[in-house]
Amino acid sequence: MPEMESTIDLLARVRQGDSGAVSELMERSVPPLRRWARGRIPASARDFADTHDIVQEAFFHVLPTLTTMEARHPGTLQAVLRQAVASHIDNMLQPDPASDGPSPLERTVGREGLARYDAALQRLSSADREAIVARVELQQSYEEVAIALGEPDADAARAAVRGALARLIQVMS
């Protein structure tokens, strides 16, 4: 898995203070995060808080922690960045989220449905969680999922996603 190794190598270079590695890491991580973040920001807020800025700020916020982060596979980095973006969105919005109007996800599955999904996701193993997030939230191809999870190929990634989905709905139900 050369790609996986290179992401981990990048993290190692970031730890050594290599600014070129930060640039590469950002190029690799920010676009999927942007796509992911759009579903979580209320439409009414989008005019005021550009998704690009939020993700960028979150990335910079996490940067100092990257120097101490030990990642076994690239999914760990994505998870940390997603968490940072989510916190950043939460901090930016009003304490009462209802006043911002629902996000696209809340409008579609309801606040309660989204909470059930989020809670169940947290109860899964990190591998299952990464599989779900990569495929369902980041809409990555099976090849990309394979790289993120460290699976040997797309078929193995598909099997991992199916298994993770089955376990997710078990927990949700």
């Binding site: 807020a45 940067l63 109007g101 696209p104 199916r162």
Partner: protein, 652 residues
């Protein structure tokens, strides 16, 4: 569909969701009757919808990617029918909103009228849907801590109709960005004036323990009437001692110091970098590091790709280029470390013309001349006295009896001691001065070479700063220390010459006296030439360190200067002044006593003190003057017996 098919149906649906295919839940059949399976179906339906929302979001931003991942038509289009809410405002508290001046991510700035006090203010209101109250109040509180003519003043904060706001001075004028866009690039002298004002503002900001973090042309307004520049927008300002983990990297990327991209915290040096970029922008309308996106900027910083100001504007004064390049040095340790340091450096760029010399009265000129002459004469007298005193000690001549020398004699000796080495050092220094002057003229005639030389100077300065070697006190002490070592080494190497004044001729061994013979004078002269070369090198080294210190505004303390001056002074007194009379002032009247060859050291009444070099000790004797035979000529007292002008065959 039967109940038995439900697990299979669920597996198929899981496959569909996993593969990103749309699921028609109505066509998928009736919900399972089994409660547990039904809950699983419901959960999967939630997951499928979540997946669909994410697909539709990606479709808006990156349709190609969706097609690549899930295939065309794999999901229904998602339409966001909501529109951003608008909050038309004409009044906020007792402020009448006149005109919107600007808008940022979190706030809007209005030109407003205070209806109570009836004057204009700039009113900043937080946008309602995004209530980052903490950040907004932080900006107001930051501003309230700073009072400076070049920093916008805040007058109050309040909340009306659920909207937070604070009001400040209304500055009627364009931002520096508008000035450059509208009127073109500025001259170096104008940029220097603006830079100095902003340095004062920045120093006031830093003095309150805050870093601004968003200094840029858009955040500086030039007052239309007074031309005063005013720094504003402290939304990103943050205490320097804030919890490091809470510090957020903010700012405008083109103005952001490279270390901020690596996650380093904002510091005074990063503010100085931003101000350097602002000055660069004022004179070029561009930025030192370009990038359309943050990724491009990161790459440019990582690859060290940046435009040198001297290349973009070759007509700018070298010193201005040097200051700006120092401000935007990639390594923060190579930048200036305080706003005051930058301001002083800018002062040197366009230094005001020196005031016309005041008419000096003749009396004042006479006074200055008298002081100079007196000081010089005093110094020469002291040097002459030391030389004479050492001679007296060497020849066992009693001061006040046989040595009747006075101020005039000392002045004469002092002049002889000083004049020759000073003239020789000036002759040695002449080609050096000529080469430096020619180099400077060449740099002026060929600007490209001048810029390279200037850049080399910056590199050298950066190197010294990076190793904490730009401190004048430290470097002058090092030069003085090395000088002391070098003079010491020279003295050791020429030990017999350097300690010539420590020979007591009255009792010294004949071998020791032989060292003083005229035949050894060339060797002594060589020692003196080396001493002069060393003295010149020392003076040049001190001058270089002093000039370098002046450029970086590092001044040496009085004690350091005392050390720097003491080293060559002591060396001069020991190696030049003290032995001078013994070595060069030893031609005395030849007066023989009986068969002994002697020289008159001094006379008192009817007694004469003579030095008889060929005698066994004691060689310095007193004799009645009428017992001595005056040969009527002078001779070097250390001349060997067989080379003396009048041979004395009966001498022992």
């Amino acid at each position: 569909m039967t109940q038995d098919d439900d697990p299979g149906r669920l597996a198929d649906l899981i496959d569909s969701v996993a593969d990103g295919r749309s699921v028609d839940w109505d066509a998928a059949g009736a919900p399972p009757t089994d409660a547990r399976l039904r809950r699983l179906f419901e959960a999967l339906q939630i997951v499928e919808r979540i997946s669909e929302v994410h697909r539709s979001e990606i479709a808006e931003t990156d349709p190609g990617r969706v097609a690549a991942v899930a295939g065309p038509g794999a999901f229904p289009a998602f339409t966001d029918s909501s529109t951003p809410t608008d909050w038309p405002l004409a009044q906020w508290g007792h402020f009448e909103l006149l005109q919107k001046l600007g808008e940022g991510a979190f706030g809007e700035v209005y030109h407003a009228r205070d209806t109570w006090l009836e004057h204009s203010v700039a009113l900043k209101l937080l946008k309602p849907p995004l209530v980052d109250r903490k950040r907004f109040l932080h900006e107001a509180r930051t501003l309230a801590r700073i009072r400076h003519p070049n920093v916008v003043a805040i007058h109050g904060a309040d909340e009306h109709g659920g909207r937070l706001g604070f009001w400040m001075d209304f500055i009627d004028g364009p931002t520096l960005a508008e000035v450059v866009e509208g009127e073109g690039v500025r001259s170096a002298s104008e940029a220097v004036v603006i830079g100095q004002d902003l340095c004062r503002a920045m120093a006031a900001v830093h003095a309150t323990g805050i870093v601004h973090r968003d200094i840029k042309a858009q955040n500086v307004i030039r007052h239309s009437d007074t031309g005063r520049v005013i720094l504003m927008d402290f939304g990103a300002g943050e205490p320097m001692n804030a919890d490091l983990t809470l510090r957020r990297p903010t700012g405008t990327p083109l103005y952001m110091a490279p270390e901020l991209f690596d996650g380093s915290i904002a510091t005074r040096e990063s503010d100085i970098y931003a101000l350097g970029v602002l000055l660069y922008y004022l004179v070029t309308r561009g930025y030192p590091v370009h990038g359309e996106t943050i990724e491009e900027l990161l790459r440019a910083h990582a690859g060290g790709k940046r435009g040198h100001l001297g290349d973009v504007r070759p007509d700018l004064p070298d010193e201005f280029v040097r200051v700006v390049e120092t401000m935007i040095a990639a390594d923060p340790t190579n930048r200036f470390h305080s706003a005051t340091e930058v301001r002083k450096a800018l002062e040197q760029v366009v230094a005001p013309a020196p005031p016309p010399p005041k008419p000096v009265s003749w009396a004042h000129r006479a006074y200055l001349a008298a002081v100079t002459i007196t000081t010089t004469a005093l110094a020469l007298i002291i040097i002459g006295f030391i030389s004479t005193w050492v001679f007296d000690v060497t020849f066992a001549r009693e001061r006040g009896t046989f040595d009747a020398s006075g101020l005039v004699d000392w002045l004469y000796v002092g002049r002889l001691v000083v004049l020759a080495p000073v003239v020789r050092i000036l002759i040695l220094a002449f080609p050096l001065i000529l080469a430096v002057t020619a180099g400077r003229v060449f740099c002026k005639l060929v600007p490209a070479v001048g810029r390279r030389a200037s850049r080399f100077g910056v590199v050298c300065q950066d190197f010294l700063k990076s190793r904490d070697l730009s401190d004048a006190n430290l470097m002058l002490s090092v030069v003085a220390g090395l000088g002391a070592l070098a003079f010491g080494a020279l003295a050791l190497y020429h030990w017999s010459d350097a300690t010539i004044f420590a020979v007591f001729v009255d009792t010294a061994s004949p071998e020791r006296l032989a060292a003083l013979q005229p035949a050894n004078e060339p060797r002594y002269d060589l020692f003196q030439r080396r001493f002069e070369y060393l003295m010149l090198a020392y003076v040049v080294a001190v001058y270089i360190v002093y000039s370098s210190g002046r450029r970086s505004d590092s001044r040496a303390r009085g004690a350091t200067w005392a050390y720097v001056i003491a080293v060559p002074t002591v060396a001069f007194l020991c190696m030049r002044a003290a032995p001078w009379m013994v070595v060069y002032g030893n031609e005395l009247p030849r007066i023989d006593f009986e068969a002994s060859r002697c020289y008159a050291l001094g006379q008192r009444r009817d007694e004469t003190l003579v030095f008889c070099p060929d005698n066994t000790p004691p060689r310095v004797q007193r004799h009645k003057t009428n017992e001595l035979e005056d040969r009527g000529f002078r001779e070097n007292v250390f001349t060997p017996r067989d080379q003396a002008r009048v041979f004395a065959p009966t001498s022992p």
